[in-house]
Amino acid sequence: MINYIIKRIGIAIPTLLILIAVSFYLMHAAPGGPFTSERPLPAQVLANIEAKYGLDQPIWRQMINYLWGVITEFDFGPSYKYHDRTVNEIIGHGFPITLKYGFWSFIVAVGVGIPLGAIAAIRKNTWIDYLAVGVSIGAQVLPNFVMAPLLIIVFTLWLDWLPGGGWNGGAWQYLVMPVIALSTSYMASIARITRSSMLEVLNTNYIRTARSKGLPTKVIFFRHVLKPSLLPVISYLGPAFVGLITGSVLIDIYFSTGGMGYFFVNAAFNRDYSVMMGITIVVGSLTILFSLIADLLYAWIDPKIRY
C-alpha cells in the first residue's frame, strides 16, 4: 500500500511536468501576448516591458525560469494584468471561495444523489422510482447556465429570499444558490450511477444468499448491498470532486462569487500567462491527488484489489 502510494506520487511528478510544458507551449503558441491591446504600444515600449517580465527570452528559458521559481520559492510569479497582485495572491483569494462553495456542492450532490439513487433502485418500477429518475434526468438536462438565472429570478426577484450575488465572506445566504446551481447535475449523475449499480447488486447471487439467511432487510442493505453499489460511484466522485472544488466560471459570473473560475477565464482572455499557469498547476495537482484518493478508497471497499 505505502509502496503503491509512493509509486503513484512518483508518477505524479513527471505527469505534472508534462502538463506544465504542454500548457506553457500552447499558451505561447496562441497569437498575441499580455501586452498587446487594440491601441498598439510603440515597439520600443513593448520591448522594454517584455524584457522586464523576461518575455524576450527563448521559450524554453522562460519555462525553466518559471519552474525554478515555482519549485524553489513556491512563487507563481506576478500577474501580467493585475500589476499590483501576484499569482499567489490571486489564487489565495479565489481558491478558498471556490473551495467553499465547491465543497458544499459536493456534500449536497453526494448527500442527495446517493439516497435518491438507492431509493429508486429499491423501489424499482414504482412511482417513487419514476419520480426519482424523472428528477435526476430533469436535473441533468438543465445546465447550470440555465439553472443559475432561473434561481436568481425565483429566489431573488420573485420571492426576495436570497441575495442575487456577491460573497460576503461566504455567509450561508450567499452560498445557497451557487451550491444548488453547481451541484444539481452532479447530483443527478450520482443518483443515476447509484441506481443502476444498486439494481445490478440487488440481482446478484450473494444478495439471494443473504435473503436465504433470513437477515432483516436493513442488515442486507447496509452490509451486503451498499458497499458494492458504491464502487462505480467512487470512480466518478474522484474527478467530480476536483471539478467541483476548482469551480465553475459560470457560477462566478452569475453570482459574482469571485472564485477561481472567473480568474482563470479572464486570464485566458488577457493572455495573463502566469495566472493561467498557476491555476492549471493547482487544478492538475488536485486532479492527480483525488484520483489517487479515489483509487485508495476503491481498494478499501473491494478486497480483491490490493496494491
Binding site: N205, Y206, T209, D302
Partner: protein, 322 residues
C-alpha cells in the same frame, strides 16, 4: 407427518411478454432425515420450485398452492415471518459458490451475522461457533481462514464455507441447489461425501437439486424428475434407477456417459426444453418423446401409481417403454 409437504405448487412470472408459468402443480413431501433429489435439465423449474417455497422468487414471481413445514403453512408468509424460518429451520446453498458469497465481506462476518441475528449470540461466541463449523466441513486452519475474503478460497473450499454457513443454526432442512455443478469432478465427489456425512451427523433432511444423475444415484433416498415445470416421475431412487417408467427419465438415464460403452457419441434427447410462455396443452415432453400418442398432445397426463411410492405421469403403457 412429513417434515415438508408441498401441494399444488405453482410458480408464475409476470414478464413484459406475458405470464410465464415455471412450475405447474407440483406435489411432493419429504420426511425427516431423508434426502430427496429433484432432477431435470436447465429450465425445468426445479430451482424455481424451491425459491417459490422459501419466498426467494424475483419480484415479478408469484407462488400459489400450499407448502406445509412442520405442520404449518409457510407459503407466502410475510418476509418477517419467513426470516424466522430461513437459516434457522430451512437453509440453502447454491450452485455457484463463487458468486453466492458476498465478495466484499469477510467470511467471518458473513457467518457470524447468521448466529448474531438468529440466536442473539455475542460476536465472540458467534465467531467461535463459526470456526468450529468450518472445522466440521474440514476447512484446514479455520481460525485464520475465517478472516479471509471469499476470493481467497478455492471453489471447493468456498462451497464448504457455504455449507458451513448454512448449517450454523442446525436447520431441519437443507436445500442444496446444484451444489456441485460449478466444481471439478473430484471436488464434486468430496462435497457430496461431505453433505452425506453432515446429513447423518446433524440428522437433517436435504432437498438436492441437480441435473447430474450420477450425483443422485449414490446420495438420495427419493427422487423427483421434473420437466417443463411438471413432475414426470417420482419415487424411491433405487426403484426409478432399476426401472425408469417415464420416457423422459429413460432419456436422462441413457444420456449418462458410461465408461464401458464402446459408442463414441453420447446419447442425447433430441430437441429443446419447451417455451414456458405458453403452457403446452398436453404433456410438456410430448414434442421430444419417442412414444408420443395422439392424446399426449391434448391431455396432460396425471401422476399415476406404478408401485408403492412410485408414480409417473405418462399416457404410454409402462410395458411399451423399454
Amino acid at each position: 407427518m412429513s417434515l415438508l409437504d408441498v401441494k399444488n405448487l405453482k410458480v408464475e412470472f409476470e414478464t413484459a411478454d406475458g405470464v410465464v408459468s415455471a412450475v405447474n402443480n407440483v406435489n411432493f413431501s419429504i420426511d425427516e432425515g431423508k434426502i430427496l433429489a429433484i432432477v431435470g435439465e436447465s429450465g425445468s423449474g426445479k430451482s424455481q420450485t424451491v425459491f417459490g417455497m422459501t419466498g426467494l422468487l424475483d419480484h415479478n414471481g408469484k407462488a400459489t398452492g400450499s407448502v406445509m413445514f412442520e405442520g404449518e403453512e409457510i407459503l407466502n408468509l410475510s418476509n418477517e415471518k419467513l426470516n424466522q424460518i430461513r437459516a434457522e429451520k430451512i437453509a440453502m446453498i447454491f450452485q455457484d459458490p463463487m458468486t453466492s458469497l458476498n465478495p466484499y465481506v469477510r467470511v467471518s462476518e458473513q457467518m457470524t451475522e447468521v448466529l448474531i441475528h438468529h440466536q442473539g449470540l455475542s460476536k465472540s461466541d458467534a465467531l467461535k461457533q463459526s470456526i468450529s463449523m468450518l472445522d466440521a466441513v474440514r476447512i484446514p486452519d479455520a481460525v485464520n481462514r475465517i478472516r479471509m475474503y471469499p476470493h481467497e478460497f478455492s471453489g471447493g473450499m468456498r462451497q464448504r464455507v457455504m455449507i458451513a454457513m448454512s448449517l450454523l443454526c442446525r436447520p431441519k432442512l437443507l436445500i442444496a441447489d446444484e451444489p456441485t455443478t460449478a466444481l471439478d469432478v473430484t471436488v464434486q465427489a468430496q462435497i457430496m461425501k461431505l453433505l452425506a456425512d453432515l446429513q447423518k451427523d446433524f440428522g437433517m433432511s436435504i432437498i438436492l437439486i441437480t441435473h447430474d444423475l450420477g450425483v443422485v444415484a449414490g446420495s438420495s433416498d427419493d427422487m423427483l424428475v421434473m420437466y417443463g415445470g411438471e413432475i414426470m416421475e417420482i419415487g424411491k431412487t433405487e426403484d426409478i434407477y432399476s426401472s425408469p417408467t417415464h420416457p423422459y427419465t429413460q432419456g436422462l438415464m441413457s444420456a449418462v456417459p458410461r465408461l464401458n460403452d464402446s459408442e463414441e457419441r453420447l446419447t442425447t434427447i433430441p430437441g429443446n426444453p419447451p417455451n414456458m410462455m405458453k403452457a403446452p396443452e398436453g404433456c410438456p415432453f410430448a414434442p421430444r418423446c419417442n412414444y408420443t400418442l395422439d392424446k399426449c398432445n391434448s391431455d396432460s397426463p396425471v401422476l399415476a401409481k406404478v408401485s408403492d411410492n412410485h408414480f409417473r405421469a405418462c399416457h404410454v403403457a409402462k410395458e411399451k417403454i423399454s
